[in-house]
Assembly symmetry: C2
Homo-oligomer: 349 residues x 2
DNA sequence: AGTTAGCACTCTCGCATGATGAGTGCTAAT
DNA sequence: ATTAGCACTCATCATGCGAGAGTGCTAACT
């Protein structure tokens, strides 16, 4: 009341920082005594209490009850992340370890995704989120027709992002593999780099079998375009559930529901539009209600600004922001490099 | 003590059946009074108690504590499943609904798998397990080489089971698409229906590029053969967690760990070897320790005896065995039909 | 011999009670 | 501005008690 400056003193910042770190570490409200005991501040508990009081006035801290220690508020975490954290980097030893793991899976995109998720989950002890790299407007790169047996053909489609799609095609009159190859060779040239709407159009210029194939391709692309909005994989749930936050029954279920519905992705997608964007949402900063007690760190990775995906970490607001942020950033760059190597024409940097 | 017959009287069977059903339904130990209240047995609570005592002597029932009602033991469930259940069928209305859903996804194998899992989870309120259809010894059906850009080729491989695998191939000297097509045409004829070991052998008869391709194919097949032992998807976890059994914190985590490691599949695999086998493991009947308080119903589906997969339900021992068993059986047949349609040459029955 | 009524007994569950202890906020002294 | 001292608050835990559900046993009944 007396002291209403918006600036925090050096010591207050230090205390806030220590409280956040201590609380993130132990999971229990931290009191003035405990703070003095563990860290060497040159001051008495009473002084710390005064500062804590001020921090509470500024809404960076709160008590659960009158007689418990302090816990950071969402704004407290926010202040910590923005002003007290510097620019955290993944330790060199860790970088080497991670790079080595990536070199193992070489250029396998799907395997790299899994690995990225595993690394993120491991580093943060929380849930890793990842959506595969997709083009905003997928176009055709190549397709093949493979005769499985009479009346049944396997259609394989490779799109701009390098994703492989497959679909079965039923036909009334048998077509042999030679004809299939001939057809696909011709059509491939026609529809290369086309979007599904253009292909739909192109289909109308053909007849019978060719038209059927083109329509199937258009449909397949449209379908995956819709689905790609809902594809968000997660990893590390079982480890995350070890956290005390989640030990209570219903929370696990609620968390699963958040992850499963496509809702999460559609909330996150518009928040990080540009490649290399990295955003942090702490508790109430999340737009969706279910995430009010969670923290989300999310980044967009990608080869070009066309072919991109999302990756990040979801955990309780009480999470190790330093390690989480640095790891998300680092892994996101690694994935971007990898994709650039696969997609773009310039060599990796 | 006086009465030690191994046979259960008509009434005792009826009581056991009702106890199982009531307990499965309510989740709470059932007492003599409650049973009389809900169902019209023509006898008094005391009589029921006597019979309960006998059922307990036979180890079909147990009390949690002296003053609680009875709960079925694992053997109780076993007796129920074997002798009191008849041969449960999925109700016609349900069959129609399910068949209709399947007709929507038509012949898309991947989508059918998902649907099957969803149906199982829905019907039982528990966790659906499903492993994709794989051949024990996968052989090559067809492969394609697609030039993505200089030095980078996409290899697409279709195996006997109809599964599509993809892999990137790095080469030092650029090869144009024409050459790729020519190469693949020739090699396709050579290695059709070969296993990975044979391909490996075949690779040694070729040089440079062709050898590289064949080796990559062999490696890819070998890799997926190993992985297919670990591929078991689950569905419906979040719903299952609503059950009181799972409401306690740590259980959810334990359950996730069981599902995630490939351990579960490798335990289950040898138990159901033949197509259309359906087996039930109740609590302690499970070989693995983590499953001691769960019930598993698992069946093998497949087009032929070569190309098969597993599907089933995992839940607490207290689960609706009637609906679960009938649904597993029904869906398993549906999937088999579907696969037969895609793989085998005879039309679906 | 099987069934039933009656009754004492057991054990869980929920609730109130009280002691403990960590931690605070305030005041006055430094 | 900092600190010591102290009264006060409130979660947590153990304890104790009453209520209720359900049993097991015995003796009477058909």
């Amino acid at each position: 009341m007396i002291h209403m400056s918006d600036e925090l003193s050096e010591r207050q910042q230090k205390i806030l920082k220590l409280i956040v770190q201590e609380y993130v570490h132990t999971g229990r409200a931290v009191g003035s005594k405990a703070l003095i005991d563990r860290y060497k501040l040159g001051v008495s508990p009473a002084t710390v209490r005064n500062d804590m009081g001020i921090l509470e006035d500024q809404a960076f801290l709160q008590h659960p009850h009158t007689s418990a220690g302090r816990v950071p508020t969402d704004s407290g975490y926010r202040y910590y992340v923005e002003n007290l954290l510097g620019n955290p980097r993944v330790p060199m030893s860790e970088q080497i370890r991670i790079r080595h793991q990536f070199s193992q899976v070489e250029m396998q995109v799907a395997a790299s995704m899994k690995l990225a998720a595993a690394v993120l989950a491991e580093a943060s002890g929380n849930i890793a989120l990842i959506s595969p790299p997709r083009s905003i407007q997928e176009t055709v790169r190549h397709f093949e027709l493979i005769s499985l047996r009479d009346h049944l053909i396997l259609l394989i489609l490779v799109t701009q992002s390098g994703t492989v799609h497959e679909s079965f095609l039923h036909i009334d009159d048998p077509v042999d593999q030679e004809t299939l190859s001939a057809t696909s060779r011709q059509l491939n040239d026609e529809i290369r780099d086309m979007r599904h709407t253009e292909i739909q159009l192109q289909a109308s210029r053909h007849e019978s079998f060719s038209a059927l194939v083109l329509e199937q391709i258009a449909a397949l692309m449209q379908r995956t375009e819709q689905e790609s909005t809902a594809e968000l994989h997660s990893e590390g749930l079982e480890r995350a559930l070890r956290q005390p936050e989640f030990s209570h029954g219903g929370v696990a279920q609620q968390l699963l529901e958040v992850l499963r519905g496509g809702a999460l992705l559609s909330v996150l997608l518009p928040q990080v539009r540009q490649k290399d964007d990295l955003r942090i949402f702490i508790g109430s900063e999340n737009v969706s209600d279910e995430l009010q007690s969670y923290g989300v760190i999310i980044a967009r990775y990608g080869a070009t600004s066309e072919v991109t995906g999302l990756l990040g970490i979801l955990g309780p607001t009480r999470m190790p922001y330093d390690r989480s942020i640095s790891t998300v950033r680092y892994v996101s760059h690694l994935l971007s490099d990898l994709l650039r190597h696969v997609h773009a024409d310039e060599p990796e940097q």
